[in-house]
Amino acid sequence: MAKGAPPTPPPDAVGVGTELVQLLTPDGERIERAYDSSGTEYSVDLTDDEYRGLYRDLVVVRRLDAEGTALQRQGELGIWASLLGQEAAQIGSGRALRPQDMAFPTYREHGVLYCRGIDPIMPFGLFRGVDHGAWDPVELKCGMYTIVIGAQTLHATGYAMGIAKDGKVGSDDGEAVIAYLGDGATSQGDVSESFVWSSVFHAPIVFFCQNNQYAISEPIERQTRVPLYQRSLGFGFPGVRVDGNDVLATYAVTRTALDNARHGQGPTFIEAYTYRMGAHTTNDDPSRYRIASEVEAWQAKDPVARMRAFLEKQQLGDADFFAEVEDEAKQIALRLRERVLEMPDPDPLQIFDHVYPHGSPELDAQRDQYARYLDSFSQAPDESHAGHVPPTPGHHVQATGSVR
């Protein structure tokens, strides 16, 4: 250890204590009601179909995610940021949103996008490199993927301030915002600023932090000396730690926080305590910084297996049901795969589009110049250029960028 480095935190200083809100044990046993550290009670009372629906969501997004990893390995995506292990945190929070609510994701919220009804091809297009993930945030009530860590928490806060300005808080049909972030993001200045702003302007916002224990390679102890959910108290709003691998608990906690926000009770910070079972992205090698036994311990808390065990214990699903869900997920994934493979590379001249809302004569000139340059290669070979090998327009270069 380097000279002057701080002492190792005491065991479990930022780990799980008794404050964890849990409605399903890892074995799928149902806990009727749970309490957070401030005594707020959480419970869910869903219909059988709703329980089965949550399970279906979990299975589908896990399958879609696996397709992302496979497509990257096959060279069809430049990179993929897997949500493996975080399905319950994303489905629980995503399904807790009401139609009028607005989500601001990071770049790993494929499950939240799925809950918002966004075509799953959207994030695949981004990671294939054909666009930057250009869904309509206003129409779909879900911001675009934001790759700079924590930047979207301020956008979410501003949007929530706008809701308040519009007078859309204080009733059941009030609007609320959910801002997604990770454990690493809590160290970003923008996140602290968003806490200050949302607090002093009493914005209708929920910060949903998936603490998946790692920011690429750095463990949570490198980001904080106190449990993350306690961070918000210093900013003047409550923090809740929920079992992020428990879809019922994340649903209950998020729904309560969003409803509080829409009723004018201000922000809440939720720490969904979970684990990134896979690599940070397909460019990452987690074996360099974490040990197998840790991964195995979390394997035993798997969010999908937990919900399945619950359904089995409650006799809400039989073998046919589970087989049917598996098959449905597979079909969705295969259809998606076909569509991804059919995605053409964009026209190179698209580079110049949409830089400014009303265009730009300067960029029009650059576009025309580049178009003429490209056209020059499609004409008959010019002997004066014999031996010169031009770049092939549309030549496919596999993206290898990294995402933090």
């Binding site: 869904w135 206003v138 675009m144 301020l154 806060t157 706008g162 200050v196 009303h358 730009s360 300067e362």
Partner: protein, 327 residues
Amino acid sequence: METMTLGKAINAGLRRALESDPKVILMGEDIGKLGGVFRITDGLQKDFGDERVIDTPLAESGIIGTAIGLAMRGYRPVCEIQFDGFVYPAYDQIVSQVAKIHFRSRGRVRLPMVIRIPFGGGIGAVEHHSESPEAYFAHTAGLKVVSCASPSDAFWMIQQAVASDDPILFFEPKRRYWEKGEVDLNGSLAEAYPLHASRLVCSGTDATVLAYGPMVRTALDAAAAAAEEGRSLEVIDLRSLSPLDLEPVYASVRRTGRCVVVHEAPGNVGLGAEIAARVTEECFYSLEAPVLRVTGFDTPYPPARLEDSYLPDLDRVLDAVDRALGW
């Protein structure tokens, strides 16, 4: 016509913008009760309320980042960055988000924001209060960058910037805030001189001098001094720094054959270099001398007692003109 200071003209322009569109909101540090450290927003919170003229927490990234969300919600935020040297905490939000969200969304999201920045030196301030960071933003696609130099332009350009669907960096020449000029308050926004156009402000025949913001006054003073020595300088106020409007510049240089670019910002990899390259490309056979630059030195901005040495002044402009004429 009314005579008013440049600072008051911006205030009047902001007032018009607030009156004409209920979605316009002002955000910044100390802009409410205090009216801003330069009093540019004086009286606006009193008249439009603290829901529209918002004293923000002291966090520049927060100002810009939340303005993005407000713009997504349909508002037109006008953000004040208190001083040029304080914009850097917001640099990431401006460059990585404000500039790119329209492109990222393939045109689905517009961010009609204005970021006002008092810039430049000459007021005897401490460090970080006298900088000229405009080139950082002019270099970034997706942003537009303008600077006003006269009260009339200040009044109209701020309104045009607020009405624009582009995110605009609006650089205000802080040491000229107190200089007076005529403003036609009865004109119409639709008929105002275009925002992204340069403007001939002094006709001449011997050399073309380009300037913007606080250096326009310096260039005009140089032209007046040169005239006494029998030299005729043409001065063009660039006004828009991104996009640059250089057709009038090319036309001028083709006539004069000489071109001097003046800015307070350091010369190295600055706007003057870009302008020199373009003028050389377009006017190569008309040039009698290389395009010369008169700029701040390639140093950090010096302590106030040295700023008169750092800032381009009338004599340094005339010295460059002499060199161009003597080539």
